[in-house]
């Protein structure tokens, strides 16, 4: 007959055995006086140690009152500032660059190059007359005569 090991005895004492284990232990201790004595001894030691350690406990422990200020509120404010800054930056970007782009379209400049008179083939190219007409966004015309 194999005797019960310490682990199973401890489990039995602490009520942690399943049904099958309980049957095994009960059946065994009914036949084995050594294990029965061991169980009684272990039961005593366990209970006494529990009692001894529990004497260290003091009843009615007073927990100091704590006025806990939200530590995360500071973090939330910080987050809020960051989000506000990001939003401000995006708005600034839109105002500075996107709108300015539209302005560029309005201020379109057209340059037209033309040679109004007949070209004198006998003269060198550097002496030929060249007129450049420039139209700004408002339709104003400027003429530059280059010789």
């Amino acid at each position: 007959m194999t005797c019960i090991d310490e682990r199973l005895l401890q489990k039995y004492i602490d009520g942690e055995c399943n049904k099958d284990e309980v049957i095994v232990v009960k059946k065994h201790i009914s036949d084995c006086s050594v294990c029965l004595q061991k169980l009684a001894e272990k039961e005593k030691v366990s209970a006494e140690i529990k009692r001894a350690i529990n004497t260290l406990e003091i009843e009615n422990i007073e927990i100091p009152v704590f006025n806990y200020t939200k530590s995360t509120s500071g973090r939330n404010n910080f987050k809020l500032i960051i989000y506000s800054l990001v939003a401000a930056c995006i708005l600034l970007f839109v105002l500075l660059f996107v709108d300015r782009k539209n302005d560029f379209h309005q201020k379109e400049i057209i340059i037209v190059q033309s040679i109004p008179r007949e070209v004198d083939a006998n003269r060198p190219a550097g002496d030929q007359e060249l007129i450049i007409e420039v139209y700004d966004g408002k339709g104003h015309r400027s003429e530059y005569n280059i010789q």
């Binding site: 489990k11 602490d14 005593k44 140690i49 001894a52 350690i53 806990y68």
Partner: protein, 144 residues
């Protein structure tokens, strides 16, 4: 529970306070605590161990003054000191296990808190209790 690990009453109260502040912060940050009871025990143990480590820098663990309780009754006080001394003779994990056992926790809870495998709790506990019993006997504590 804290008193079993920290003898001084004021220190114990402060540690309990710290544990609950920790809990409050966790709940505020919407942290999910699956097993609150086990979580509280785990945090308490860690706080007590940290506190003991800090304390050891100033006083030796075996020093009588450190282990002395605030209780005035000399005989009770003497017994308490012996129990604390016996607990310090065990490994840290073993003394924590013995303390958790004295709290009447189930093996499942003990396994969750200590990280010991559920199937090994019975064996480890049996060994620890025997060891603690022997230490108490060595210190001439009248177990029964």
């Amino acid at each position: 529970m804290v008193h079993k690990m920290v003898p001084n009453n004021d220190d114990a109260c402060d540690l309990v306070q710290e544990v609950f502040i920790n809990l409050y912060q966790n709940l505020e940050n919407a942290a999910i605590i699956e097993y609150p009871r086990s979580w509280l025990y785990k945090v308490t143990i860690n706080k007590c161990i940290d506190f003991s480590k800090k304390q050891h820098k100033h006083e030796k663990i075996e020093s009588y003054n450190y282990l002395k309780d605030d209780d005035n009754s000399s005989e009770i006080n003497e017994n308490k000191t012996i129990i604390r001394l016996a607990l310090t003779k065990l490994k840290k994990e073993e003394s924590v296990l013995a303390i958790l056992y004295s709290e009447g926790l189930s093996y499942k809870e003990i396994a969750e808190i200590t990280g010991i495998r559920f199937s090994s709790v019975g064996k480890t506990l049996s060994r620890t209790l025997t060891k603690l019993g022997n230490e108490l006997k060595k210190l001439q504590y009248d177990l029964y």
